[in-house]
Symmetry: C2
């Protein structure tokens, strides 16, 4: 039986979604139709939402799960009249938190993904621009400014990781591809030497690397298993020789790679 799950918010809905996905992931046997509805910020929209939930209850023959992060309690009260199973974040936790903190909630809408005025949003966007300007070894003269320099074989996951670190944490991450020429020299590329303490290495299983490279350049030397094995072996040797901390990205998403790098390096978010 299919169940509908709504993620409802007066803001972007990203928090309701993240929470809802975590909880729904625990019920693998059930098929969920997932619907995110952001910007439910007035009573008219809330009433429309109630109709939508009730409609889904009728169609599914079972009440939908409703994950909401709506701050305004009047709007929440309207939503709660719907024929749904409510997972109400603010309704559940805000009042005990008010007691604990001995402070009343300011009922601020959609703060967590908005531009605030502490400059942290600008830092995130600056970091995205930094990642783009310093992608793939394009420049090395801004490395003084970098929080982190990711190194690794071509297509080992450096660029998406740098972009995620920028967007999520405001971390300025450059990336530098280790090429065959670099490996022949058996030492750290010259441009990296003065910044050794900022370097973090990525590695990846040669099989996975070959698969990824084959999508870009099918049946090339670049994407051959032999070449991938050779590069990864040499690169890992270099990491060990130079005592560069590194991570095997094969089984990890960009979110996992990024949080593991944050943990391993002790970098703090700039936001």
């Amino acid at each position: 039986m299919k169940r509908t799950a709504f993620f409802i918010s007066d803001g972007t809905g990203l928090t309701a979604e993240a929470l809802g996905h975590s909880l729904l992931a625990q019920f693998e046997k059930i098929e969920f139709e997932r619907v995110t509805v952001p910007y439910i910020a007035d009573e008219d929209k809330a009433r429309d939402m109630v109709k939508r939930i009730n409609k889904a209850a009728e169609v599914d023959g079972a009440r939908p799960l409703v994950f909401d992060t709506i701050v305004n309690s009047d709007i929440r009260d309207i939503i709660s009249t719907a024929d749904g199973f409510m997972v109400d974040i603010f309704g559940t936790f805000l009042s005990p938190m008010e007691q604990e903190l001995n402070s009343s909630s300011s009922y601020t809408v959609g703060k967590s993904h908005s531009i605030n005025h502490t400059g942290s949003y600008e830092r995130r966007i600056d970091a995205v621009n930094f990642a783009l300007d310093n992608d793939d070894g394009a420049r090395t003269r801004q490395y003084d400014e970098a929080d982190l320099i990711l190194v690794g074989a071509s297509r080992s996951g450096k660029t998406p990781t740098c972009l995620y670190l920028a967007l999520q944490y405001g971390i300025k991450a450059a990336n530098y591809p280790i090429t065959e020429e670099d490996l022949e020299d058996q030492k750290l590329p010259k441009a990296l030497k003065p910044h050794k303490e900022k370097i973090f290495g990525l590695t990846i299983e040669p099989e996975r690397l070959a698969t990824i490279r084959n999508e870009r350049r099918p049946n090339s030397r670049y994407s051959s298993m032999k070449q991938c094995m050779h590069e990864i072996e040499e690169i890992e040797l270099m990491y060990r020789r130079e005592r560069i901390p590194f991570l095997n990205t094969t089984a990890y998403s960009v979110e996992e790679i990024s949080t593991r790098i944050m943990l391993a390096t002790g970098l703090k978010r700039n936001r």
Copy 2:
């Protein structure tokens, strides 16, 4: 008085953080020291975590707030012995959800930000590569493949938005800068014409645009107030004339711009 807030997870901690930040944003008068601790996945780490929470309680003179999304109930039980105020997501919601769904939880750790095997992770990474390859009008021959083509003045927020749409939603978004030459012709740039239904416009207050451009090229014609006003006026005229849906990005973060575009276009996530 400062209070410490811990965001603890057996996975990346991103969900615990998102939820915790939303709740803490409601208490603007209180200063929180925010600490994210990912990958608390065994009992030893949980016991260390208890010590860390108790230490913070001692130093602060008040018990920390602990937001956790730990799936394993043995690990959660250990954490709950700490001297903290527990906001326990799974402990609170999982058991009522089990009843509602008439299904037991599979206690799957860290699913929400991991690589699954449905191909959705690959789609997100493909979308990142697509955004990079099709940034800033670099190419137009892949527009057939695009889910969305963002247009707008230089520095109106197109690139970070495309990257966020790719990472978060797996949306393949190209972007095309509207230049002065395009505006002189008083019509839609030729490369965009065959893809009109995929186009979404960004605009921005001229003052904000001038500020952003000044950081890149100070005191240039490009960043002058006069130039910015002219471009924005002409671009908005074009949007209206060509009936291109558009959004003013001035007050919005990339998260907000992206969710608003998803809502306005009816695009669905590819994950």
